[in-house]
Amino acid sequence: MENDLLVRMHNITKKFPGVLANDRVNFELRAGEIHALVGENGAGKTTLMNILYGIYQPDDGEIYIRGRRTVIKSPKEAIKLGIGMVHQHFTLISTLTVAENIILGEPSTRLIAPIKDVENRIRRISESYGLKVNPKARVWELSVGERQKVEIIKTLYRGAEILILDEPTSVLTPMEIVELFRVLRRMVNEEKGVVFITHKLDEVLAIGDRATVLRRGRVVGTVDVSKTCREELAEMMIGRKVVANQYDKKSIVGSTILEIENLCVNDDKGLEAVKNVSLQISKGEILGIAGVAGNGQRELAEAVAGLRRVKHGRIVLDGEEITNIGVKKVIEKGVAYIPEDRISMGIVSDLNIAENIILRKYRYKPYSNNLFLNFKFINSFSAELIDKFNIVTSSINTPVKLLSGGNIQKLILARELSGNPKLIVAVNPTAGLDIGATDYVRRKLIEMRNNGKAILLVSEDLEEVISLSDRIVVMYGGRITGILRPEDVSIEKIGLLMTGGGSEN
């Protein structure tokens, strides 16, 4: 078995503008093993597998498939080599049937081919691996778990021997996860190889044979799962970087200004994303929400900002109930929101800087009087903010789509922070920004905190959460799994809380 190397990736390096996604990564996959690829968001796991699947080309390094050095220029070539990938976002056409989706793009089927044969072959595959799915069903009728089965069958239909799964369990119920593991075991018993990308450590322990941990684009180590434990994996994943208090925080924590009681909020698909969450934030405090994306943090933030309906529970700001009163009133009550999606929500790209600065406040004095906007005030105010927030631009009339990401974020900050808000909700405020802009944003948030504002910070960047927050709340699966002080944070503990283990409340 030792010599049965299906895949060997050697010294793989991949750079994107501003970030080194893979830094001299070595990775191997043996026949008959389930190899877990572990790491936080942005660690480089998906990039590495995208390289294996031919979506990206490595800047450096080699790939060996079954001992032979190969260059994989496209997914089509990868498929020919027997590599199949199930992405996080399914590439299924929902109005077509299962069978139609599977033969789509399948080179061997002729252009005018009858569907009956395809359906039969699908049935054979699904029976031999336990992937029950009706070939005639239309994809929109299927549950997420069933859709994933279709994606897997798609790869098997094309003769995949090497199967890559990108965070497959993030969309599955516990029952479906058990089923998936059963299927994977059957596959590797036939000497196939499976790469299982995940950040969930208990799954690694449950199903993995070996695990490779990536952190910031580098391999931390490859271990035998039977010989390791959760704590060791967590430590490898998150690292021992000391995150001391780098910022000058005055110790003024005042009275409670935001109370969230038993909040239940649904996501876009109608499933419960926030499950019975209760929190308080005080004046002059930064409450950081840590956790891997997709565990309800975004929905929580949107609910507080008035952008998402609350199913059950209450949100009380400064003594007043603001549950479900609508975005306009929430803005009036003094809640600022720095959205995760800068470009499509935070700004209107065709309008200029001045027009974007007034986006949330245009209807109030002195931005406008009665029917008309007060451009005199707007222009001078914008010029002031550009100065105060160091936004690099030639004039207030520049269309914002020309600004850099950092400057756009500064504009959003300038807009949201200048209105003397009581509460600031920020979601991933430094995502995609360079070091200078990132530092600026963080200092601004600290400044607001020191001025007595309350901040609800949601961030996937654990270092950011730890260094900025006064208290840290960890969310997993829509619930709070722990509330810690940054001084009390040990990497192992927070890693566990983030990945579903050791819940304490």
């Binding site: 077509l96 139609e100 033969i103 252009l111 005018i112 009858p114 239309r138």
Partner: protein, 308 residues
């Protein structure tokens, strides 16, 4: 009475043929994600080309082929504007309609008004079948183009829903990003479908000037192109349903004047196709129904790889 009904049905079927051609074409175009509002203009140009070519060469088949080619060329212009130039598809289609109507009327008025076509496409009754009482004369006593339209409808339905080519077309219209990710060339599929759509519409126009009323008159398309756009939606983008839809809409058209003695104004009847379309579109767009309706999700949106 029977004779009346028979003649009504015959009339309905004859009006529905050009409608069916154009609708089949637009179904493929829209299924691939492109909306072509130039049908009225393309049909007019098809009518003109068929008429003039037939007159010039004395051969009806050549005329029909010429119309098909012209339609394809105009479809290509729209495809080019919409796909390569990423222009607004609504506006591009409208421009083509204006262009087609303008050119056909310009040339038609100067050269062909009042000129009768010496040839005519003969009705070809199918032996034995056309003798079946009631159904016989109705279905099997028509000209070749009408037969062609029905055969095409069945074939195009089969291709679209039972073959890989059809799956590719539908995938491109529904989710071009996924299709591209799978390796399908979205652009080529859309070009092909739009050109085919134009060809069929040109063919429909040929029918008008060569069979239906062998003469060329400016304005003879009389909104059929627009009705085809409506019919595409009314038929919920299925070639089979298009047959019934075309017959229905054609029937409504034929009915317009026949109901007059009953006191129902023809104009009110004439609004029915358009009213029907709005109603069907409304019902079809509502949430759950949308899935069943199969409106291509990317309709009208230019596909740009890598652009969000």
């Amino acid at each position: 009475m029977i004779g009346d009904v028979e003649s009504l049905l015959n009339a309905a079927l004859r009006v529905s043929t050009p409608l069916l051609f154009a609708t089949l074409g637009e179904i493929y175009t829209e299924k691939s994600g492109v909306i072509n509002l130039g049908l009225e203009g393309i049909m007019a140009m098809g009518a003109l080309t068929a008429f003039s070519t037939t007159l010039l060469t004395g051969n009806i088949i050549l005329g029909v082929i010429a119309a098909t080619i012209t339609g394809g060329a105009m479809g290509f212009i729209h495809a080019f504007m919409s796909i390569a130039l990423r222009a607004n598809q609504i506006v591009s289609g409208l421009a083509i309609t204006m262009l087609g109507l303008g050119i056909s009327e310009l040339i038609g008025r100067i050269h062909y008004t009042g000129v009768p076509l010496p040839l005519r496409l003969q009705v070809i009754p199918i032996p034995y079948l056309s003798n079946i009482p009631v159904v016989g004369p109705l279905l099997f006593n028509h000209d070749p183009l009408t037969y062609l339209s029905l055969v095409l409808a069945l074939t195009m339905w089969f291709i679209l829903f039972k073959t890989k080519a059809g799956i590719i077309i539908r995938a491109v219209g529904e989710n071009p990003f996924a299709a591209d990710a799978i390796g399908i060339n979205v652009y080529i599929v859309r070009y092909l479908c739009t050109v085919v759509g134009g060809m069929l519409t040109g063919l429909g126009g040929a029918y008008l000037s060569v069979v239906y009323r062998p003469a060329f008159q400016p304005g003879m398309t009389a909104g059929l192109g627009w009705i085809a756009v409506a019919l595409t939606i009314f038929a919920l983008w299925s070639p089979l349903r298009a047959i019934f839809g075309a017959a229905l809409f054609g029937g409504l058209r034929a009915l317009e004047f026949r109901l007059q003695p009953l006191g129902i104004p023809p104009n009110i009847v004439a609004t029915l196709p358009y009213l029907f379309t709005i109603i069907v579109l409304t019902i079809g767009t509502r949430g759950m129904m949308r899935r069943i309706v199969e409106a291509p999700s990317s309709l009208g949106v230019p596909y740009v790889r890598g652009e969000k």
